[in-house]
């Protein structure tokens, strides 16, 4: 790993990954470092396009880091990672993609992450995206996340994308069986001419499945964001989708809600609010001595915290 790699890695992962118990670092399409333990195995896929992470049943307090680095301009990296989480396990998975594009060609990272949660498994999945480099080549990410949840399992997903990515199309699909809970929090900030699309398709298949989606985003300058969610309640189930966006400059945001209740006891709620920073919020912070610009920064910082 060179300095650019280390810097990118630090940007996407808060801690020093190489000190972690289990990790797999992928750079420009190939694995450059890996560590496993007796409970969590990482194996290459036969087609060479990704890894299988297998967590044994009853594994508690496991943590897996799987950062991806893209430093070659013009590279199209396609990765397919599958996570098999054994019953009653409790793990944290941190993934992230750092793109450093110093040249004129586009860098593209297409990732598919599939999660198979066994009965009563608990997963916290954190995904971070970061782009840098002064080249004119675009930094493009298209993450797809598929989630299959068995009875009693729960999953908590946090995705963060703060500037730096020119074009991101994110698709999350989930199928929830009985007594499962899926919580998704996404935070997105775009600037310049960036575009970010997110799409959620959640099927509540088992009784008492529930889903909570919170999306907070800020679109500044000429950037554009699109938020779609499609929640289908097949049975007694609950879903709450909340999409909040702040607009600045010429930023624009489109929110497309779709909720489909197929059962009389499916309780599905979608809330969406888009607008500029409320004048009274600015006034309150200015009345505490901040300038208008400082007040705006504090409000956005809090909103995306």
């Amino acid at each position: 790993m060179n300095d650019v790699d280390k810097k990118l890695l630090n940007q996407i992962m808060e801690e020093d990954v190489t000190k972690e118990e289990v990790y797999n670092i992928r750079k420009n399409g190939a694995c450059i470092a890996r560590k496993e333990n007796p409970y969590i195995r990482i194996t290459n896929k036969e087609n060479g396009r990704g890894i299988d992470v297998t967590v044994k049943e009853n594994t508690l307090f496991g943590t897996v880091h799987i950062p991806v680095l893209l430093t070659e301009s013009g590279l199209v990296d396609v990765v397919e990672n599958d996570f098999h989480i054994g019953a009653n396990s409790n793990v944290i998975i941190v993934s992230g993609c750092g793109v450093h594009n110093q040249h004129g060609k586009d860098s593209i990272h297409d990732g598919i992450h599939r999660f198979y949660l066994g009965e009563n498994a608990k997963v916290k999945y954190v995904e971070k995206h970061y782009g840098e480099g002064r080249g004119t080549g675009k930094k493009i990410l298209n993450p797809i996340t598929e989630i299959y949840m068995e009875k009693g399992s729960s999953m908590n997903i946090e995705t963060v994308q703060i500037d730096g990515v020119d074009l991101a199309k994110r698709l999350t699909k989930a199928q929830l069986q009985e007594d499962t809970t899926l919580t998704i929090t996404e935070k997105i900030k775009t600037s310049g001419k960036q575009q970010a699309d997110t799409d959620f398709v959640v099927e509540l298949l088992g009784e008492h499945a529930s889903c909570h989606v919170t999306s907070r985003s800020v679109a500044t300058e000429n950037s554009y964001q699109e938020f779609r969610s499609n929640i289908i309640g097949e049975t007694v189930s609950y879903a709450h989708v909340e999409c909040d966006a702040i607009l600045k400059d010429q930023g624009s945001v489109k929110a497309i809600p779709e909720i489909y209740a197929k059962h009389v006891d499916a309780n599905l709620i979608h809330e969406a609010a888009i607008g500029k920073i409320a004048g009274e919020q600015l006034m309150k912070l200015m009345s505490l001595g901040l300038s208008e610009k400082e007040a705006e920064e504090k409000i956005i910082e809090g909103f995306l915290k």
């Binding site: 006034m283 200015m286 505490l288 001595g289 809090g302």
Partner: protein, 232 residues
């Protein structure tokens, strides 16, 4: 000293403030009262800079502040508690107090501030300033954000609005304390007898003009009688 000179403010062809002249002294506790629509809140907002008068001048310690922004006035030591405390997404009680104080601040310092407004639980510090807090709680935090700045001019716009009677009773204690300890000027807009009783001076507004100004001792009983008549 704060001087309002010939302040006029008109909206939708209605005179909200009509040639207001007012001189307020440091270290005094003022209560501004009057019927709804008499211009009380607008007057308070004009002092803070939340509204700009159509004409007239505002002097603070001899300096013309008429065209200064809200931030600049705050930096000079003027502070304002909103009638409807503003809610935020993601900003916590602790965040707000840190902004208000403008310096590094420990949790202990923040708790000390909240204690003054009757909030003693540490748990509050990390709660978001949103509608999950009750009206009374938001009001207390709003007042704490103003007190924490040790302002030279502290303006409270109807502290009793939007809270239940129980919360109000304990809020009056905060103002009682403020009346006896504050080293700056306090201006409270209120209809409540308990608050009026704390005033050094009272100002009665009606239809955008000052109907009467004077010592509380002279004015209180008269104002209470008028309020009763209006009620009947």
């Amino acid at each position: 000293m704060l001087e309002l000179i010939d302040i006029c403010f008109e909206r939708n062809h209605k005179k909200i403030l009509d040639h207001i002249h007012l001189t307020l002294d440091e270290k005094k506790f003022y209560v501004i009262t009057g019927p709804n629509g008499s211009g009380k809140s607008t007057l308070a907002k004009i002092i803070m800079g939340l509204e700009q008068p159509d004409s007239g001048q505002i002097l603070f310690q001899g300096k013309d502040i008429t065209h200064l922004s809200v931030s600049e006035r705050a930096q000079l030591g003027i502070s304002y508690a909103f009638q409807q405390p503003v809610t935020f997404k993601g900003i916590t009680v602790f965040d707000l107090l840190k902004i208000a104080v403008g310096l590094e601040m420990t949790e202990e310092d923040a708790l000390e501030l909240l204690k003054k407004v009757g909030i003693t639980s540490r748990e509050y510090l990390h709660r978001e300033l949103n509608r999950s807090l009750s009206g009374g709680e938001r009001k207390r935090i709003e007042i704490a954000s103003v007190l924490s700045r040790h302002p030279m001019v502290a303006i409270f716009d109807e502290p009793e609005a939007g809270i239940d009677l129980w919360s109000f009773q304990s809020l009056t204690e905060i103002f009682k304390e403020l009346a006896s300890t504050s080293s700056g000027m306090t201006i409270v807009i209120s209809h409540q007898e308990r608050i009026m009783k704390l005033a050094d001076q009272m100002i009665l507004l009606e239809n955008g003009t000052i109907k009467k100004i004077g010592d509380r001792k002279e004015m209180l009983s008269e104002i209470l009688e008028e309020m009763e008549d209006a009620y009947e």
